[in-house]
Symmetry: C2
Subunit: 218 residues, 2 copies
DNA sequence: TATAATTTTTAGACATGTCTAAATTAATAT
DNA sequence: ATATTAATTTAGACATGTCTAAAAATTATA
């Protein structure tokens, strides 16, 4: 059974390895977990001995099937708790991340599955992130970043890629939340900023923001 | 901010010091936490430095106001989570203790208070134990152990003093739960066992069991 | 009250996870 | 191909919380 710290390492490696199972570097993990590369080196050795990751010195690491499975189940817990906090306890979507970071480490598969049932088996968390089921399978999603939309079109916000209160708060100000319909008016070539219209109000957003909003074209 | 371990020590000391603020011995704490007296000695020194307990070498410890307050708030969290687990997630009352032991360490006063509201400010947990409010005040209770009932009478079960699955399971078998009406038929002097009647079924229970069932006389 | 038994504390060790500073390996540039 | 730079690992230290074994203090007993 991995410790909480080990779980956080697995989660970070999962997040950083993306869809194509890239090798993850020591430095990348250190940055993600706000720790030092030397600490990562130590931990990576331990996770490797437990067969949770593949590790080649100076090369990088990747998750084993067992490690990946553990990471996915931690993410499952994190996202289910976020649904609970927002939908049942009336937290706002920018307030739940830190609490869910704690709750995701509670050990009880019974608890997770009963919570899942209690919440009616949600497919997405309050930020639009997909929630894996008890088998560890993610619901299919075909979302793209708003920054990749070329032409004038109408789209729907399906998720956000950043969990930080500051960012989520800014979206609240723009009246953007999951499900919001957005009309693309103009993509400005020189700085890739976008002019959009929400509920007949025209707005201007930067690439940095657009990159972190996932949409599906209507 | 105390660590999880420190919180567990505070909780144990609170439990052991009873209503009359007795001094708690090192050995008692060690037994309660299933650890060694030497470990307790170390920890007690640390808690004392943090002004959470009063500690005199070789004498014993007692909680300071600050330590007591912390302990009470951990108990508050524990019991609120138990209500959530039983009333909302449909756990049985003998299944929730270990999970609540984990949940009680989640840090967020916002969370506790929203959970409290979500559960409609319950006064008692599934085992009948009183839940302190946000100020740390316990609801008044005037329950006595079933073992102290002298005469033939009708009583109502209001709480249990033991959280162990084995004991709770046994009560389930006897059809005893919080709120159950029990008729005392006979107290047997030689072994203090009691003959009772529940729903017209006659039963026989030992002192050990009776001591851990709290009742109020009807 | 002196001695025995018990309780509590201390000393020294270990495991976990972290850090800084130094050493090693790999990547990049000249 | 060699020198420089960057990334990674190792060595040694520290903090937390635990343990065993031994010492000290307290309590009980004769």
């Amino acid at each position: 059974m991995p410790t909480q710290t080990e779980e956080n390492y697995l989660k970070a490696i999962f997040k950083l390895s993306g869809n194509e199972k890239e090798l993850v570097s020591t430095n990348a993990i250190a940055e993600e977990l706000e720790t030092k590369a030397s600490s990562v080196s130590d931990m990576v050795k331990k996770l490797s001995e437990k067969n949770l990751i593949n590790y080649v010195k100076y090369q990088g690491v990747s998750l084993t099937n067992e490690g990946r499975d553990l990471a996915v189940h931690i993410i499952r817990k994190h996202r289910l708790w976020e649904v609970f906090l927002v939908n049942r306890l009336n937290f706002k979507w920018d307030e739940v991340h830190d609490i869910a970071e704690q709750l995701e480490h509670i050990r009880s598969s019974e608890l997770v599955n009963k919570l899942d049932a209690f919440l009616c088996y949600p497919n997405y968390d309050p930020h639009g992130d997909p929630i894996p089921n008890a088998k560890g399978e993610f619901p299919k999603t075909t979302a793209i970043p708003l920054s990749e939309v070329q032409s004038k079109s109408k789209v729907k916000v399906v998720a956000v890629e950043l969990d930080e209160p500051g960012f989520l708060n800014y979206l609240d100000k723009l009246n953007i939340s999951i499900g919001t319909q957005v009309e693309i008016l103009e993509v400005n070539d020189f700085d890739d900023s976008i002019d959009i219209k929400i509920d007949d109000v025209q707005r201007h957003i930067s690439v940095e923001v657009a990159e972190n909003i996932l949409i599906s074209v209507l």
